[in-house]
């Protein structure tokens, strides 16, 4: 089964200026970990929600500091709350994560192609994430669970650096208590007080229960984690065209015009960020592409 991520210009993108940021007010903030914050944004008055597809991203602008691509991490069925989960690693992300309720964030988007959640109905779905990679996959998990009866087994494997780095603990606890999703998490290192798994996320793959012949995998994390994860999935018999990965490249415009995010012939911002592994296999193998 070959599926391609669906494109979703939900409005006519040729209308208006795609480089204009719209100020959205922060409705809520949540400190997910010591370096990661989720911002819930309110679309400006007169807007009826903010439709998006799981895996799509927005360009978020911190006034005067800069703009960065951030995946939407909220529930796609809840249009009124637009959530982004941001890890403070640079100037713009530090500025965004220190904003408060009532402050404004410039928003452009949604951009890019997301996870083909609807297209893979009928299969087992294995979601494998590492680090902040859980954020762009949370909307997909929400959508899978909202239409749970349309899928076979649903498995979430999540690897974090340490127990302190684990995102969305409340979600994880809820999902672990459900019988219709298998959730396993592991950390790279931990002190003895941690009762869970220790080891890299790839080690969870042989233990997970799914049918490799009727299984679609959504993988998101650092590129090196995705490389090893894909290797492990192939080892278990998952077909290359049933594996989807989310690529990260430098993005300045989000609309395929600034050239920064090029990955071979494609522009990650508009042809990705989610790709069928079959289509980006080369970039996993070739250096500095």
């Amino acid at each position: 089964m070959a599926t391609t991520p669906t494109s979703s210009p939900l409005h006519d993108v040729r209308d208006g200026d795609p480089m204009l940021a719209r100020p959205f007010q922060i409705r809520r903030t949540r400190k997910d970990t010591y370096d990661t914050v989720s911002l819930q944004l309110k679309p400006p008055d007169g807007d009826d929600g903010f439709p998006f597809e799981p895996g799509q991203f927005n360009m978020l602008y911190a006034y005067g500091v800069g703009e960065v691509p951030i995946s939407i991490s909220g529930n796609p069925a809840k249009n009124d709350s637009l959530v982004h989960t941001i890890r403070a690693v640079g100037a713009a992300t530090r500025a965004l994560t220190s904003l408060k309720v009532g402050d404004s964030v410039g928003v452009r988007g949604p951009f890019g192609k997301g996870w083909p959640v609807e297209a893979v109905a009928g299969n087992d779905v294995v979601v494998i994430t590492g680090g902040i990679g859980l954020a762009p996959l949370r909307p997909a998990i929400y959508q899978l669970l909202a239409h749970r009866e349309e899928y076979g087994k649903v498995v979430l494997l999540y690897g974090a650096r340490t127990p302190e780095d684990i995102l969305f603990r409340r979600n994880l606890e809820k999902w672990r208590s459900r019988f219709d999703i298998e959730t396993a998490l592991t950390v790279d290192r931990a002190a003895r007080s941690w009762k869970g798994n220790v080891g890299v996320v790839t080690q969870l793959i042989p233990r997970a229960v799914f049918d490799p012949l009727h299984c679609v995998a959504f993988v998101c994390g650092p590129e090196i984690m995705m490389r090893f994860t894909v290797m492990e999935l192939i080892k278990r018999g998952v077909a290359e065209n049933n594996i989807f990965v989310s690529m990260e490249r430098n993005m300045k415009c989000g609309i395929g015009l600034c050239g920064h995010c090029q990955l071979g012939s494609s522009f990650v911002c508009k042809d990705g960020p989610v790709y069928c592994y079959e289509d980006v296999r080369d970039s996993f193998r070739k250096r500095e592409m």
Binding site: R14, L20, E67, I255, K270, M289
Partner: protein, 381 residues
């Protein structure tokens, strides 16, 4: 045969001044070649006397020189360091500004440039570059802000190249030396047996309209023949070629070829080639504020894939070696571009060769890769 080709006109050299004036009278800002800082650049033209009359150029890999020809020609030189890109895709553009207020901030849309511009002396390779930019900026799902407004208000006077520059290779790229489309008027400058005139082809209704105001006559067979001969001579004189046969496959095959390292050993990664290239379109998007923080701005500025920052993501640069950056530039031009936009990203203008401080020659590099590929084939037989 189109009607236009039947209708080829002749404008005596003195008539060029009328053409410039007619454009100005129609409200166009006329932009054309002018000498500045020892090179032919593009700038505003008020009269034909602003043109580089009697000048020609000597171009070689890594070298550019203007010399007096002693002739009365207006266009006896090839392209210089500028391209028309600077008018259609300006080196820097303010995308918007924002002001702080109680709600946070308000974004103010920029005013769009709507001035009518006439480009005088657009070379055939540059017409192709314009066509490529049209695809890049308006062919995708999103339109580049402001591009269409700038593009739709143009009048284009092309000039065919009767003398190729020292680094030109348009004939092998099938983009020149003669313009075939994309212009309002196309001129071929002829200076023969003491007679100096232009053979003029019409490419559009507005071109036809403008021409009707000028003192022209219908070209006779001898004049048409002179123009055709000039084109033949130019093609024959072109010193370089780039063999585009199977070029995409060649570059994909050569991704890991050690030859990239030998280019990288010479390359300064200065980005000159990207700045002078008429099709390179990459920009950076930069944000800033005034000192008080009350006003913020976003600018788009030309960027180059030869910088390390270009591919920076958290953790480091994707293309951190010069080798990878040169490979990216050339592979983009000659392979990825075909997948992305359906054409090559190179028009054969030779600017990247002339303005490379190391004299790296894209045609030579393609040949080197091709030769290696060929010899490997022979060895494996």
């Amino acid at each position: 045969m189109t009607k236009r080709q039947e209708n080829i006109a002749v404008l005596e050299s003195e008539g060029l001044g009328y053409l410039v004036q007619a454009l100005i009278d129609k409200g166009y800002e006329v932009l054309g070649p002018r000498i500045k800082d020892g090179a032919v650049t593009y700038d505003q033209i008020e009269t034909v006397r602003d043109l580089p009359i009697g000048w020609t150029d000597r171009q070689e890999p890594g070298s550019y020189r203007l010399v007096k020809s002693g002739k009365k020609t207006y266009f006896d030189y090839a392209v210089g360091p500028h391209s028309w890109k600077k008018y259609l895709h300006p080196p820097e553009t303010r995308l918007w500004e924002a002001r702080r207020d109680e709600q946070g901030f308000t974004v103010i849309e920029p005013e769009r440039e709507t001035a009518k511009k006439a480009l005088l002396g657009v070379r055939p390779c540059e017409l192709q570059a314009l066509a490529i930019q049209d695809t890049v900026f308006t062919g995708g799902p999103y339109l580049a802000p402001g591009y269409q407004e700038r593009r739709s208000n143009l009048f284009i006077v092309a000039v065919n190249c009767v003398r190729p520059g020292g680094t030109c290779f348009c004939a092998s790229m099938k983009t020149g030396p003669k313009a075939t489309s994309g212009f309002d008027l196309a001129l071929t400058e002829i200076l023969e047996s003491g007679r100096h005139y232009f053979v003029v082809e019409v490419g559009s209704a507005s071109g036809e309209e403008l021409l009707s105001d000028l003192p022209t006559k219908v070209a006779d067979d001898a004049e048409k023949e002179a123009a055709a001969k000039a084109m033949e001579r130019a093609t024959a004189k072109m010193g370089r070629e780039l063999d585009t046969k199977g070029i995409r496959e060649l570059l994909y095959k050569c991704f890991d070829d050690p030859h990239w390292q030998t280019v990288a050993d010479r390359c300064f990664s200065c980005g000159n080639c990207t700045m002078v290239c008429p099709t390179c379109f990459c920009v950076n998007v930069e944000d800033g504020t005034d000192l008080s923080g009350q006003q913020a701005e976003r600018w788009s500025r030309w960027d180059s894939c030869f910088t390390r920052d270009f591919s920076y993501i958290h953790g480091g640069s994707i293309r951190f070696t010069v080798k990878a950056r040169y490979r990216q530039w050339m592979t983009h031009k000659l392979a990825y571009w075909l997948d992305q936009f359906g054409t090559l990203g190179c028009v054969g203008c030779g600017r990247c060769i002339t303005w490379c401080p190391a004299g790296i020659d894209i045609t030579e590099e393609v040949r080197a890769l091709r030769d290696k590929e060929q010899s490997e084939k022979v060895q494996s037989v």
